[in-house]
Subunit: 265 residues, 2 copies
């Protein structure tokens, strides 16, 4: 990151995640950015993986100060989801709209359709819905991800996005490839892959009561992936835009037929 | 609903919701359909409003039998989210893929961008992701919704969809207008509106500890709505398709520039 350049305008960055405030990924993100920007961290008090864009309506939300390396300034946990964190940060914690929202670094990839299940990307979607440039960062490794190496590249990506803004309502979904592929080969901006999981719930028996219970998150199979770049060792960046979700083709085909089927009363 | 027609093929329908198995909306849905189709109900044990497409990874899921009017056959609660319910129903509870997944009847509308926050629509998105025709039903009234009247129209909509299938991956998002508008004026198939909420968290003080806490779900304002049909008293049906979310325009514009900014190593 061009330190002088960033310091001259000192961007305001909101950091969040879905693995929770005490997950190592968010700590590395904060460490990578704290000298270059005015950072506020507002992250879930507990793990919120796969919480998508969910928000908390039936429980009140508590905001608590956090301490990292003796720092307590602008570090907060919220007893809710990533989207809750973004909403409370914007309306209750920050004095002004941040220049950027950064979510992660997530433990495990967020590719293909998983952007809609992920809380990490959910926070970035919430940011993009509020017209704030947002980036989600994820490491493909679930076991022992190398956040330190990933976080060395993050200031450069952020510098790029601050200088070359995303279109309104578009977020950037960045994934770092597996460690076993060796040194990162470079960066690719690419389209959303077809990556998706098919659940194979793991059925177990309760030790005392004898009934069955189930664990989700047990992958049966992944659709043959077309995420070729990340599998070849490139850091991938997908611009994601969630706009109008209408199936216009079906609407045009069936509108008249549907409405005639149900005459006005 | 054309009873004979439906009975001759006896469709298999999975019912779920996000207000929870004991919410009145799902009970009216079940009552409206149970004589016309083979119904299995798999719904959240507790309220799961605004849970979006979230799934439960850090807790095990329990499935329990439910009794309605002395019936216990094919009625189940799951200690998770609407999407969890669909996943467990498809992989653990049902013997065959259902012809249709029906979610609701939700307390409160699910219009515009709220389709991505709603657990009701989340269940239908999960169904559409699994290539099963799915319909979400919601009543615009949050206080004292008239589920009974709404549920009289639902068999007709279901009959239509069974006979005029949705495209693969497309769900139908149906909303019933407010009671105060009087008798339903008819049906409109329409596009997704621009309805969105802006949060205004309600800040309160804990009675014993003195710290602040916050309630979300307190609407500051709604963007001027273009959902004209529902506001005029029509039942609206929006075909929703969540496919590739890539911002292709930005990708085409910036791919080369982005990749040149980060030379290969």
């Amino acid at each position: 990151m061009n330190k002088r350049k960033l310091e001259s305008n000192r961007p305001q960055i909101l950091i969040t995640n879905d693995d929770g405030i005490y997950a190592p990924g968010i700590y590395f993100l904060w460490k990578a950015l704290k000298d270059h920007a005015d950072i506020t961290v507002v992250a879930p008090a507990g793990e919120q993986s796969a919480k998508a864009l969910s928000i908390t309506l039936s429980q009140p939300l508590h905001i608590r100060k956090v301490s990292w390396e003796g720092n307590t300034e602008n570090l907060w946990s919220v007893t809710g989801t990533p989207a809750d964190c973004v909403k409370l940060a914007l309306r209750e914690i920050l004095n002004k709209t941040p220049d950027l929202i950064v979510s992660g670094i997530n433990r495990g990839s967020n590719l293909g359709r998983n952007v809609l299940y992920s809380g990490t990307v959910g926070a970035a979607i919430e940011g993009s819905f509020q017209d704030i440039p947002s980036i989600a960062f994820s490491c493909q490794d679930f076991f022992e991800p190398d956040y330190e190496t990933a976080s060395r590249y993050i200031p450069h990506i952020i510098e790029y996005i601050l200088n070359h803004p995303l279109p309104e309502g578009t977020l950037l979904n960045v994934n770092f490839p597996e460690k076993k592929l060796g040194k990162f080969k470079g960066f690719k901006m690419t389209s959303q892959g077809n990556n998706q999981w098919i659940e194979n719930p793991d059925k177990r028996t309760h030790p005392a009561e004898g009934h069955h219970y189930y664990w989700l998150g047990c992958q049966l199979k992944r659709k043959a992936s077309n995420d070729v770049w990340i599998e070849q060792g490139y850091i991938t960046a997908v611009p994601v835009h969630i706009g109008d979700l209408t199936d216009w083709s079906h609407l045009k085909d069936k509108k008249e037929h549907f409405e005639k089927f149900f005459p006005e009363e």
